[in-house]
């Protein structure tokens, strides 16, 4: 079981309020991702749940039991750190065994769990090596192994993939998702990468300056972002946000159109502009289009092979039902 409830949890460092009072419920078995730009308080929130930071006000409950003043070890949570935080002088086996040794578990049970975790994580051949002799991905797996063997109520991940290279990151993303599908344990995952959030989460919590901007499933956030911040944070490349006459014609202060919802047409487009930088990804091409009435260039997704070059004139037409409208406060207009 791993249902975590935050009730008006607040965190101040001296006078600075990092997390204003905040309510959140993480259901048992859910994969929840905290996402936001750096400095938004997402790591602090995770550390509050872990017990590595003291809560200034409010209450944390794990499975209905108050945990606000419990020391980290007593909360039944396991954490995977950004730097992996492996113990460099211990072998992989001893690293994984450490939490069980601290809990005073008997040797046979320890060995059984180590073998099981090592098989699940492809670490069997490396059990007697030191962390220093492993690659980044293997170290990551050892850190996860150390978390698994405790059979915790929930896993906490603090930007675990940010030290890996791009290819490995995709692989580890899959492995963590697989692990979640297999264990069905609650996982709380912190990242600044919206791609990780979109691909892994059951539920995304978007944070800005300690505030929860929106909570929802990846597709909810994609299809109906509650405000312009979420709209521009979720989705890659970013949503185009337009103001001025074009927005007024839709009865809004700001309208948002995602690059994939702009069609390239032959003539008579809503927007006419010049092609600037184009990014060819093979499957897609992203054009940065300069439109005379607008300061910012618009991003457009087109097919892989579109015969447009730098400086060419382009006609664009937005898909009418995919336009997001926001009011003067930046909130979504239904």
């Amino acid at each position: 079981m791993g249902r975590i409830t935050l009730d008006k949890v607040q965190k101040k460092f001296g006078e600075a309020e990092v997390i204003p009072p905040l309510d959140l419920t993480i259901e048992d078995g859910e994969f929840v991702v905290f996402v936001g730009p750096s400095g938004c308080g997402k790591s602090t929130l995770l550390r509050l749940i872990a017990g590595l930071e003291d809560v200034t006000n409010g209450e944390i409950r794990i499975d209905g039991n108050p945990a606000t003043n419990l020391p980290p070890a007593k909360r039944g949570l396991a954490m995977v750190f950004q730097s992996y935080a492996l113990y460099p002088h211990m072998s992989v086996r001893k690293n994984i065994a450490f939490p069980m040794k601290m809990a005073g578990m008997d040797q046979a049970e320890q060995d059984r769990r180590i073998t099981k975790a090592a098989e699940a994580l492809n670490l069997t051949d490396y059990l007697d090596r030191r962390p220093g002799q492993l690659s980044g991905g293997q170290r990551q797996r050892v850190a996860i192994g150390r978390a698994i063997v405790r059979e915790p109520a929930a896993f906490l991940f603090d930007e675990p993939l940010s030290n890996l290279d791009a290819a490995l990151r995709v692989g580890m993303r899959m492995e963590i998702s697989e692990l979640h599908a297999k264990l069905q344990t609650t996982m709380v995952y912190v990242t600044h990468d919206q791609v990780e959030a979109m691909t892994m989460a059951d539920k995304i919590v978007v944070l800005r300056a300690g505030h929860i901007e929106q909570v929802g499933s990846p597709l909810e956030l994609y299809h109906s972002p509650r405000n312009t911040f979420v709209a521009s944070f979720i989705g890659s490349p970013k949503m185009n946000l337009l103001t001025g006459d074009i927005a007024r014609s839709h009865d809004a202060t700001t309208i948002g159109i995602r690059p994939e919802h702009l069609d390239v047409v032959e003539r008579d487009g809503t927007f006419v502009g010049r092609v600037g930088v184009s990014e060819h990804l093979g499957s897609d091409t992203f054009f940065h289009v300069h439109i005379p009435q607008m300061e910012e260039p618009m991003t457009v997704r087109a097919g892989g092979e579109v015969g447009l070059r730098h400086g060419d004139t382009i006609h664009l037409h937005p898909q009418a039902d995919k336009i997001h409208r926001f009011d003067a406060q930046g909130l979504r207009v239904a």
Binding site: A50, L52, P71, P72, A73, L77, A78, M79, F81, Q82, S83, A85, L86, Y87, P88, H89, M90, F98, P99, M102, A103, R130, R146, R150
Partner: protein
């Protein structure tokens, strides 16, 4: 240092320094070797250039040799114990954020800057002195008899003085090691359910092991040649005669330069054996 040309000019430029160092080291060593095979007692006007290994034999067989070895080991060992244990504790303490951290750190390191002779004199006259020492006042304050440290516990007193001087060095090296420990490792251990004492034992101490071996190596080399502290306080009496001090006594007090030189060479050999062992241990420790 890439090209042939820059390599040869580099050699040329360090040559004078190497030459001076060699002369500085080799001349005294060769003279000591030369004297160690001679019967040279200036006050009796004796000088016989070659008497074979007689000096070595009489130095090694004298009863004071073995006892001086024992004293040396005892002294170096207990100073190492005090400085390492105390240094680890002080380093952990100083690593904590506190008010006036900068000043406290400078104060802790200060004893290292006091010259050995001076610190020995200060301890002898201001702390250990039976009539006016601070410890005597303290004993009297609690209604006890003043205690004459230097004649009752001479070896212990010298250990205290030297440990006081070297504690800052150990603290300094160990403090930098403590500071280099990543806080995430300690947090991970905390999450893993390790209480403070286990965190110290399983995480902090292994992390410090390299720094500790380095401290042991450097301190042993310097502590084997403790002299000023013994000279100023007990003059080698009451069982405080170390090997270094014995050599000094043979040369200057007995005016037997040949015997003293032989003792010096023996001391060099023993110190090198110790150094080789220590280097092995350090090397092993630095490898993994």
């Amino acid at each position: 240092m890439a090209t042939e040309h820059s390599r040869s000019s580099a050699r040329l430029m360090i040559a004078p320094a190497v030459f001076v160092l060699l002369v500085w080291m080799l001349v005294p060593l060769i003279m000591t070797l030369y004297f160690s095979f001679a019967d040279y007692r200036p006050l009796r006007a004796t000088f016989e250039t070659w008497i074979g290994f007689d000096n070595y034999a009489s130095f090694l067989t004298s009863s004071s040799f073995l006892s001086s070895i024992g004293t040396t080991l005892w002294m170096v060992g207990s100073i190492l114990m005090i400085t390492i244990v105390g240094g680890v504790l002080l380093a952990l303490l100083l690593d904590r954020p506190m008010f006036g951290q900068g000043i406290v750190r400078i104060l802790v390191i200060a004893p290292f800057f006091v010259m050995p002779t001076v610190s020995a004199l200060v301890w002898k006259n201001m702390f250990f002195n039976v009539d006016n020492g601070l410890f005597s006042y303290l004993f009297k304050f609690f209604g006890a008899q003043p205690f004459d440290f230097l004649s009752q516990l001479p070896l212990f007193s010298i250990v205290v003085i030297v440990a006081w001087q070297w504690l800052p060095f150990a603290t300094l090296i160990l403090l930098t090691a403590v500071q280099s420990l990543s806080s995430e490792q300690l947090e991970a251990a905390e999450m893993d359910g390790a209480p403070a004492l286990s965190r110290f034992w399983y995480i902090i101490l292994p992390h410090l092991s390299r720094a500790i071996t380095v401290v042991i190596l450097i301190q042993t080399i310097f502590l084997l040649s403790i002299f000023a502290e013994i000279f100023v306080t007990t003059n080698g009496a009451f069982g405080t005669r170390t090997l270094t001090y014995l050599v000094y006594q043979r040369v200057l007090e007995s005016q037997n330069i040949g015997l003293g030189s032989a003792g010096g060479i023996i001391a060099v050999i023993l110190a090198n054996i110790v150094a080789i062992f220590l280097m092995r241990i350090v090397g092993k420790n630095l490898d993994n």
